[in-house]
C-alpha cells in the first residue's frame, strides 16, 4: 500500500473525488509505467515530436483529400463521369476558328487540346517579344529629358497598370476591333493606287549626303554648320513649295517657274528682308554705338536673337531661299517622277489582320544549307576574333565581319540555287481534265496553285501577297483573327506598362559615376548605352521581367472572355461536351505549370548569364 505522503497532489485530488476506486485506478496506472516511461521519454525529444507532428499533419491531409476524393468520385460515378484520359481519343465534333489544317470537327479531343496549346504558345511568344520592345521604349521615355514625352509615358503607364486587363481586353475587342471597317473597305497598307515619287527627292537626298559629309568634317564651326543647315532647309522647303504651288493647285497666285512673274516680288521681298536683317545685324553694332552716345538705350538695337549665330543663320536662310528661287526660275528643277503602282499587302478589317506569307519552296533546303554554313562561319569568325582581341588587345570589327560572312554566303547560295532551270512543262488540272502544258502558259492562265508554285519556283522563298475571292474571303496570306489581335494588343499594352516601370528602375539603378566614367573615357552616347548602362541595368531588370513574362503567359488565359481558342477556352468546351471536368482541369493546370516552369527556367538561365560574378 502507498502512504499519503507519497501521493502527489493530483493523486490526492483524484483520491478525494473518486475515493478507493481512484486509488485502484492509480495502481493500474503504475502497472503500465515501465511501458509508458520510455514513450514519455521519447516524446521529450524534440526530433521525435517533430516527426510525429509531421506524420499527424500528413495523415490529416491525406484524410482530407481522401474524403474530398471519395465524395467527388461517388458524385461523379453517379453521373457516369469517372475521370479517365480515354475520352481524348473521341471525336471532338466542334470546329475551331484558328486551327492548323490538320484539325477539323472530326479530329479527337486530344488534337483539339493540342490546337489550344499551339494557340496559347503562339500568342505568348509574340506577346513576350512585342511587350518587351514596347515596354523598353516606354521605359526610356519615362526617363526622357523632354517633359511632354515623359508625361505622356507616365500617363500611359499609370492609366494602363491601374485598370484591369479584362476591361482592356473588352475595349480592344468590342470597341477597337468592332469599329474597324468591313472587309470590302479594309484599311490597306500600302493603299492601292498609283504614287509618283519625285526625282527631286533623290536630288535632296544626294545634297543632304554631301552636306552631311561637310558637316561632319573637322574644322567646321557650329555657327557655320547651323547656317548651312538652315540654308539647306530653306532651299528644300522653298523649291518644294514652289513646285507644289506650280503643279498642284489651280489658280495659285504665285505662278512661279514661268520666269519673271508677279510671284517674283513677294519672293524677292522675303529674301531682301532676310538679307536686310543680316546686314542690319552686321552693321547694327556701329549704329548702336552711335545711338548709345546720344543717350538712346542700346537694347533697342539688339533684340536678343541678333547674335552672331542668328546673323549666320539668317544668311543661310536667305542664300538657300534665293538659290531655290533662281533654280526654279530658270527651270533647273527636275519635275519628272517615278510612277509606282502599289498593291495592298496588309489588310486590316473587322475580320482581322491579313499580311503576306513567306513560304519556303522546294529549293529552300538547298539554300538553307548555305545559310547554315554561313552561320557556322560567322560563329567561327566571332569566336576567333574575340579570342584574338583577348590575346593581342587589338580591336576587330568582329560583328561586322561575321555579318558580312553570313550575308555573302546567303546571297551566293540564293544565286546558286536559282541557277537551275525551272521545269519547262507542268501537269495542271484545268476545265476538269489533266493536261501537260508549258509552265509560262500555265502561269499566265492562273492555273498554278500554291503547291505548284512552291514546287516550280526558282527562288528558295516565296512571298505570297493576300488575295481575295469574290466574297472577300482570303485565299492566300497569313490571317490573324480579330480575337487574336485584340488579345495580343491588350496583353502587349498592359504588360508593357509594367515592363516600362521595370526598365526605368533598372536604368536608374546604374550609379551615375558609371556614366561619368564612360563620358570621361570619351565614349559616344550609343556606346555609353550599349556598353555601360544596359549591361548593368539588365542585372536589375531581368528578375522582375521574368515575373512579368509569367504574368503575361497566365493572363493569356483571359482569351476565354472574347472567344479566342486558347488552351483554357478549348478545354472548357471539351469539358462541357465530354463532362470530363476533373481531367480537363488537371490537363490545364499541368499545361500552365509546365509553361511557367519553362519560362522561369529560361529566365533563370539568362539571369545566370548576366549576374554579377563576385568572389
Amino acid at each position: 500500500m502507498f502512504t499519503r505522503a507519497r501521493l502527489s497532489r493530483l493523486q490526492q485530488v483524484i483520491a478525494r473525488v473518486l475515493g478507493p476506486g481512484g486509488a485502484v485506478l492509480m495502481q493500474i496506472f503504475r502497472l503500465f509505467r515501465p511501458i509508458l516511461r520510455p514513450l514519455i521519454n521519447a516524446l521529450a525529444d524534440l526530433r521525435v515530436r517533430q516527426v510525429l507532428g509531421q506524420l499527424f499533419f500528413a495523415s490529416l491531409l491525406i484524410l482530407f483529400f481522401g474524403w474530398m476524393g471519395s465524395t467527388a468520385s461517388s458524385e461523379l460515378s453517379q453521373k457516369g463521369l469517372v475521370p479517365t484520359f480515354n475520352f481524348l481519343d473521341l471525336r471532338s465534333g466542334f470546329e475551331i476558328s484558328e486551327s492548323p489544317e490538320w484539325y477539323s470537327g472530326n479530329s479527337s479531343y486530344g488534337r483539339a487540346f493540342a490546337v489550344g496549346m499551339i494557340n496559347t504558345v503562339r500568342i505568348v511568344i509574340l506577346g513576350l517579344v512585342l511587350s518587351s520592345i514596347l515596354g523598353f521604349f516606354i521605359g526610356v521615355f519615362l526617363l526622357s529629358s523632354n517633359w511632354l514625352i515623359r508625361s505622356i509615358a507616365r500617363s500611359y503607364v499609370e492609366a494602363l497598370r491601374n485598370t484591369p486587363l479584362l476591361v482592356q481586353i473588352f475595349v480592344w475587342y468590342f470597341i477597337v476591333m468592332f469599329s474597324l471597317p468591313k472587309i470590302q473597305q479594309a484599311i490597306t497598307i500600302p493603299g492601292e493606287g498609283i504614287t509618283f515619287i519625285s526625282l527631286r527627292l533623290a536630288l535632296w537626298a544626294l545634297l543632304w549626303l554631301i552636306l552631311w559629309r561637310y558637316w561632319r568634317g573637322s574644322g567646321v564651326s557650329v555657327e557655320r554648320r547651323e547656317a548651312s543647315q538652315y540654308g539647306f532647309a530653306a532651299l528644300v522647303i522653298t523649291s518644294e513649295l514652289a513646285a507644289y504651288g506650280y503643279f498642284e493647285i489651280e489658280g495659285w497666285p504665285w505662278s512661279w517657274g514661268a520666269g519673271f512673274s508677279a510671284a517674283f516680288w513677294p519672293f524677292a521681298l522675303v529674301i531682301a528682308a532676310l538679307l536686310g536683317l543680316v546686314l542690319l545685324a552686321h552693321f547694327g553694332g556701329g549704329v548702336k554705338g552711335w545711338a548709345v552716345t546720344r543717350g538712346i538705350s542700346g537694347r533697342w538695337f539688339a533684340p536678343f536673337w541678333i547674335g552672331s549665330r542668328w546673323r549666320l543663320r539668317l544668311l543661310g536662310l536667305a542664300l538657300g531661299g534665293g538659290l531655290a528661287g533662281l533654280i526654279f526660275s530658270f527651270g533647273l528643277l527636275p519635275m519628272a517622277a517615278v510612277r509606282l503602282e502599289l498593291r495592298p499587302a496588309i489588310f486590316i478589317s473587322i475580320r482581322g489582320l491579313v499580311f503576306p506569307a513567306l513560304l519556303p519552296t522546294a529549293r529552300f533546303a538547298a539554300w538553307f544549307a548555305f545559310v547554315g554554313l554561313g552561320i557556322l562561319l560567322a560563329g567561327f569568325i566571332w569566336l576567333w576574333l574575340g579570342r584574338r582581341t583577348e590575346i593581342t588587345g587589338q580591336p576587330y570589327p568582329r560583328g561586322t565581319l561575321a555579318l558580312l560572312a553570313l550575308l555573302t554566303l546567303a546571297l551566293v547560295g540564293w544565286w546558286m540555287v536559282g541557277t537551275a532551270a525551272a521545269p519547262a512543262h507542268i501537269v495542271v488540272e484545268g476545265g476538269g481534265e489533266t493536261v501537260l502544258m508549258p509552265l509560262a502558259e500555265a502561269e499566265a492562265e492562273g492555273l498554278l496553285g500554291t503547291a505548284e508554285r512552291l514546287r516550280t519556283s526558282t527562288r528558295p522563298l516565296l512571298i505570297q501577297l493576300p488575295t481575295q475571292n469574290r466574297f472577300g474571303r482570303f485565299l492566300t496570306g497569313v490571317e490573324f483573327t480579330p480575337e487574336y489581335m485584340a488579345l495580343l494588343l491588350a496583353l502587349v499594352v498592359y504588360t508593357s506598362s509594367f515592363i516600362a516601370e521595370i526598365v526605368r528602375a533598372g536604368i536608374q539603378a546604374v550609379p551615375s559615376g558609371q556614366l561619368e566614367a564612360g563620358r570621361a573615357l570619351g565614349l559616344s552616347q550609343a556606346q555609353l548605352l550599349a556598353r555601360i548602362i544596359f549591361p548593368q541595368a539588365l542585372r536589375v531588370i531581368i528578375p522582375p521581367l521574368g515575373n512579368q513574362y509569367l504574368n503575361l503567359s497566365k493572363n493569356s488565359s483571359l482569351a476565354i472572355s472574347i472567344g479566342y481558342a486558347d488552351t483554357f477556352n478549348i478545354t472548357t468546351t471539351i469539358m462541357n461536351q465530354s463532362g470530363q471536368t476533373v481531367t480537363g482541369f488537371f490537363m490545364v493546370m499541368v499545361f500552365y505549370l509546365a509553361l511557367s516552369l519553362f519560362i522561369s527556367a529560361i529566365m533563370n538561365a539568362i539571369n545566370d548569364r548576366f549576374r554579377l560574378v563576385t568572389r
Binding site: 502527489s8 497532489r9 493530483l10 517533430q50 507532428g53 509531421q54 506524420l55 499533419f57 500528413a58 474530398m68 465524395t71 467527388a72 458524385e75 461523379l76 526622357s144 529629358s145 523632354n146 517633359w147 511632354l148 514625352i149 505622356i152 499609370e158 492609366a159 491601374n162 485598370t163 484591369p164 486587363l165 479584362l166 476591361v167 473588352f170 468590342f174 470597341i175 492601292e192 493606287g193 498609283i194 504614287t195 554705338g289 548709345v292 552716345t293 543717350g295 542700346g298 536678343f304 503602282e341 498593291r343 497566365k554 488565359s557 483571359l558 476565354i560 472572355s561 483554357f568 469539358m575 471536368t581 476533373v582 482541369f585 490545364v588 493546370m589 500552365y592 505549370l593 511557367s596 516552369l597
Partner: protein
C-alpha cells in the same frame, strides 16, 4: 538704372580701364536673360532642348491633341451617357433589394468616417486640400443649377402625317397618338419645325422620334451620296488610280443614283398639322389647335400624370410634318417590386428624373398607347457643348452630388474630430491611432451584418466577436498560469478547463444571438437576409477584394512560415501549395471553384452560392501571393534578430510571433498594398464566370433594350472608377514606402 550707369561714361565705347573702375562702384545689376530663367527657359530646356527633342515634342503634342480632341468630340457629341446615369445603381451595388439601400449607405458612411479618422491618425491633410474639396462640392451643386437656369432644353421632334418615310431598307410611318408624362403647371409648347435646307435637316440634333430620325437619315444619306459621287468623279479625273480601281469606280458611278430632294419629295412641314392634347387618365380633350408655319400651341398641364398627344395632317396624304415640342421628353420605364410584393411600373423622364408610377393610358382596343419611350426617342445627331451640358452632364451631377457631399462631410467630420483630439496633446495621438485601427477591425463584422444580413450572419458575428475577445482573455490567463510555475499535470488540467470554458462561451454567445437577435432578421426585419445572387457592381468588386485579402492573411502567413520551416513535410506541402496556385491563372481557379466544388460538396451546387465559391477561389489565389510577399519580408530580416531571440532562450514560435513576423510584416506593407491593388483589378475576372461585378455590368448594359450594343460609355466609366481607386491606393503605398514604415520598429 542701367541707363544711369552707362550715361555718365565718357564716349560710346567701354575701355577695359573704365570697366575696372566701374567694378569698384555698385556692380551693375541686370536681370538674367529670359532664356535662362522663367517659362521661356523652362520650355527651352524641357521641350526644345535639341533637334530630336523638338521633333519628339511636336509629335507628342500632335498625339496628345489628337487623343484629347477625339475623346472630347465623342464624349460631348456622340456618347449616350444615359447608359451610366440610368444604371448608376447597377454599377454601384448591382441588383440588391431596395431594403439594402439604407444598409449600404450606412456602411459607406461608416467607411467615410473611418477614412477621415485614419487620415487624421497617420497624416496631415492641409487646409488647402479641404478648401479645394469644398469648392469642388459647391461647384457640383452650383453647376447643374446654373446649367438648368441658363440653357434651355432642346426640343423633341415628333413626326406627323399619313405617309411613310423610307431610307435604305427602313420604312417608318409617323405615330398619330403618343403618350407622355408631365407635372402640374409645366407648360408645353408645340410648333411646326421648318427646315430651310436639306443640310439643316441632316444636322438636326435633339430627341427625335423614329420617323423624324428616318427623315434626317434620308437627308444625310442623300448628301453623303452626293459627296461620294463628287469624290468618284474627282478621283476618275486624276491620275492616281490603278486600272482595277478605275473599273470599280466607273461601275459604281453607273450604278449610283441620287434620290430626289427630301424636303420636296415629302413636302416636309408644308401643310398645317392638327394637334390635340388629351388627359391620359380619362381621355378628355384639354387643348387643340391647327398649327401652320409660325403658329404655336401653348398649354399648361393641370396635374402630374399622363397625357396623350394626337397629331395628324388632315389636308393631304402626301405631306408629312415634324413638330418641335418643348416640355415633352422621352421616358425610361422600369419595373420594381412594390411593398405588397407585386410588380409595378415606374416611368422616369430622361431629362430631369420626374417620376410617375403606373397609370399608362390605353387605347380603345385595350393595348397601351405608344409611349414617348427612350428606345424610340433617343437623342440623335451630333450634340453641341450646350446640349451636352443640359441633357447629359446636369442630370448626372444632380444624381451624384448629394452622395458625394455627404461622404466628404463624413470624412471631414472624422478627420476634424480626431484632429481636434490630437491637438489637445501628444498622448491623444496614441488614442486616435488605436481608434483608427479599431474602426478597420470593426469593418468586417459590420459589413457581414449589413451586407449579408440574416440570422446566420448575426450568429457568426456574435460568435466571432466573443471568440476573438475570449481568445485574448484566455491568452492572458494562460500567461499568468505559466508564470505561476504550477506542476505540469495541474497546469494541463487548468488549460483544459480554460479551453472548455472558452468553447462554452462561444456556444453560449451563438445561442444567445440566435435566440435574442435573430428575430430582428426575419423577412421584413431590420437585418433581413439579402440574396447573394443579387450582389453586384462595385459592391461585389470591393467585397471580393476585401475578403480576398483579409481571409488570405492567416493562410498566407502560415504558408510563408511553412515554406521556411525546417520540417520537410510542412515545407513540401507549403511549397506545393504556393507554387501550384501561382503557376495557374486565376481564371482556372475561378472556373474550378464554380464547376468542381459542387462535386466535392454537393450542397453547394446552387447558383446563390456562386459569390461564396468565387470568394474561396480568390482567397486561395491571393494567399499564395501573400505568402510569397511575407516570405520575402522574412528573408530580408537580418539573421541577428532570430539569433538574438535564441540567445535569450525563447522557443521558436515565440521568436516568430514576437520578433521576426512583426518586422517582416512591416517591411512588406508596400508589397501587400500592391497585392491589394492587383487583386482589386483581378476580381474583374469574375465577370467571365457569370457574376455581375462592375465589369460584368457593362455586358449587362449592352444587352438592355434602351442601350443595345452601347459599350464605350460603360467601359470608360469603369475605367475611371478602377483608375481612381487603384491610383489612390498606389499613392498611399508610395507614401508608406517613403515614410519608412517598413523600417525596423523604433
Amino acid at each position: 538704372m542701367a541707363g544711369e550707369t552707362t550715361s555718365h561714361l565718357p564716349g560710346g565705347t567701354m575701355s577695359p580701364a573704365v570697366r575696372n573702375e566701374a567694378y569698384f562702384e555698385e556692380p551693375e545689376r541686370r536681370k538674367p536673360p529670359i532664356t535662362v530663367v522663367g517659362p521661356v527657359a523652362w520650355v527651352r530646356a524641357n521641350l526644345f532642348g535639341s533637334t530630336l527633342d523638338t521633333i519628339l515634342t511636336v509629335l507628342g503634342a500632335a498625339f496628345v491633341i489628337f487623343v484629347v480632341v477625339t475623346l472630347l468630340q465623342w464624349s460631348i457629341g456622340a456618347a449616350n451617357w444615359y447608359t451610366v446615369i440610368f444604371n448608376l445603381r447597377l454599377f454601384m451595388v448591382g441588383r440588391v433589394e431596395p431594403f439594402m439601400d439604407a444598409r449600404l449607405a450606412t456602411l459607406a458612411l461608416y467607411l467615410a468616417l473611418a477614412v477621415g479618422v485614419n487620415l487624421a491618425a497617420w497624416s496631415v491633410v492641409r487646409v488647402r486640400v479641404w478648401l479645394v474639396l469644398v469648392v469642388g462640392l459647391i461647384a457640383l451643386f452650383l453647376i447643374p443649377t446654373l446649367i438648368e437656369a441658363s440653357i434651355p432644353l432642346p426640343p423633341t421632334y415628333l413626326g406627323a402625317g399619313q405617309r411613310e418615310v423610307t431610307t435604305g431598307s427602313i420604312t417608318v410611318a409617323p405615330q398619330s397618338r403618343v403618350a407622355f408624362i408631365g407635372g402640374a403647371g409645366e407648360e408645353i409648347t408645340i410648333t411646326l419645325a421648318e427646315f430651310s435646307s436639306e443640310g439643316e435637316l441632316a444636322r438636326l440634333s435633339s430627341f427625335t422620334d423614329v420617323m423624324t430620325n428616318t427623315l434626317r437619315n434620308a437627308a444625310r444619306n442623300r448628301l453623303a451620296a452626293q459627296r461620294r459621287l463628287g469624290g468618284i468623279q474627282e478621283a476618275l479625273a486624276g491620275n492616281r488610280l490603278t486600272d482595277r480601281q478605275r473599273g470599280e469606280l466607273e461601275a459604281e458611278l453607273e450604278k449610283s443614283e441620287i434620290p430626289p430632294a427630301i424636303l420636296n419629295s415629302y413636302q416636309v412641314s408644308a401643310l398645317p398639322v392638327s394637334v390635340t392634347v388629351r388627359a391620359g387618365w380619362n381621355g378628355e380633350e384639354l387643348a387643340s389647335a391647327v398649327i401652320g408655319a409660325g403658329d404655336e400651341l401653348r398649354y399648361a398641364l393641370p396635374q402630374d400624370g399622363w397625357y396623350v398627344l394626337e397629331k395628324s395632317i388632315p389636308a393631304s396624304d402626301e405631306s408629312i410634318a415634324t413638330l418641335a415640342t418643348r416640355g415633352i421628353y422621352p421616358i425610361f420605364d422600369r419595373t420594381f417590386i412594390r411593398d405588397d410584393g407585386k410588380r409595378a411600373y415606374q416611368y422616369v423622364r430622361a431629362t430631369d428624373r420626374f417620376l410617375i408610377e403606373g397609370g399608362r393610358p390605353r387605347e380603345e382596343n385595350g393595348t397601351d398607347t405608344p409611349m414617348l419611350g427612350i428606345i424610340e426617342h433617343q437623342y440623335k445627331g451630333l450634340r453641341g457643348p450646350a446640349n451636352y451640358l443640359r441633357v447629359m452632364l446636369a442630370p448626372f451631377l444632380q444624381q451624384v452630388n448629394g452622395a458625394l457631399a455627404l461622404l466628404t462631410a463624413l470624412v471631414a467630420a472624422g478627420y476634424y474630430s480626431s484632429f481636434g483630439l490630437i491637438l489637445r496633446g501628444e498622448r491623444f495621438v496614441r488614442t486616435v491611432r488605436r481608434a483608427a485601427v479599431w474602426l478597420w477591425l470593426y469593418l468586417p463584422p459590420l459589413s457581414l451584418l449589413l451586407i449579408v444580413g440574416g440570422g446566420d450572419s448575426v450568429v457568426i458575428v456574435a460568435g466571432v466577436l466573443v471568440a476573438v475577445g475570449g481568445l485574448l482573455a484566455v491568452w492572458r490567463i494562460w500567461e499568468r498560469l505559466r508564470m505561476a510555475a504550477l506542476p505540469p499535470l495541474r497546469r494541463a488540467l487548468a488549460g483544459l478547463a480554460l479551453l472548455l470554458a472558452y468553447i462554452g462561451l462561444i456556444v453560449l454567445a451563438a445561442w444567445l444571438a440566435r435566440a435574442l437577435l435573430a428575430p430582428l432578421t426575419r423577412s421584413e426585419g431590420l437585418l433581413q437576409a439579402s440574396d447573394p445572387q443579387l450582389w453586384g457592381g462595385f459592391l461585389l468588386t470591393m467585397m471580393l477584394t476585401v475578403v480576398g485579402i483579409v481571409a488570405a492573411f492567416p493562410i498566407g502567413i502560415a504558408m510563408a512560415l511553412g515554406r521556411r520551416s525546417s520540417l520537410p513535410v510542412i515545407r513540401l506541402v507549403s511549397t506545393l501549395y504556393i507554387e501550384l496556385i501561382r503557376g495557374v491563372p486565376l481564371i482556372t481557379l475561378l472556373f474550378m471553384s464554380v464547376l468542381l466544388v459542387s462535386f466535392v460538396v454537393p450542397s453547394l451546387g446552387g447558383p446563390d452560392s456562386a459569390p461564396y465559391k468565387v470568394m474561396v477561389a480568390v482567397t486561395l489565389f491571393s494567399s499564395a501571393y501573400l505568402a510569397e510577399n511575407v516570405r520575402g519580408g522574412l528573408q530580408g530580416l537580418p539573421p541577428g534578430q532570430e539569433e538574438a531571440g535564441k540567445a535569450v532562450g525563447l522557443p521558436g514560435w515565440r521568436i516568430t510571433l514576437h520578433i521576426t513576423l512583426p518586422q517582416a510584416l512591416r517591411a512588406v506593407i508596400p508589397a501587400m498594398v500592391g497585392q491589394f491593388i492587383s487583386l482589386f483589378k483581378d476580381t474583374s475576372l469574375v465577370a467571365v464566370v457569370g457574376l455581375i461585378d462592375i465589369t460584368g455590368v457593362a455586358n449587362v448594359i449592352a444587352a438592355q433594350t434602351e442601350f443595345q450594343g452601347l459599350r464605350r460609355e460603360a467601359y470608360l466609366f469603369i475605367f475611371i472608377v478602377y483608375f481612381i481607386f487603384s491610383f489612390a491606393m498606389s499613392l498611399v503605398s508610395r507614401r508608406i514606402e517613403t515614410s519608412g514604415a517598413g523600417a525596423a520598429r523604433r
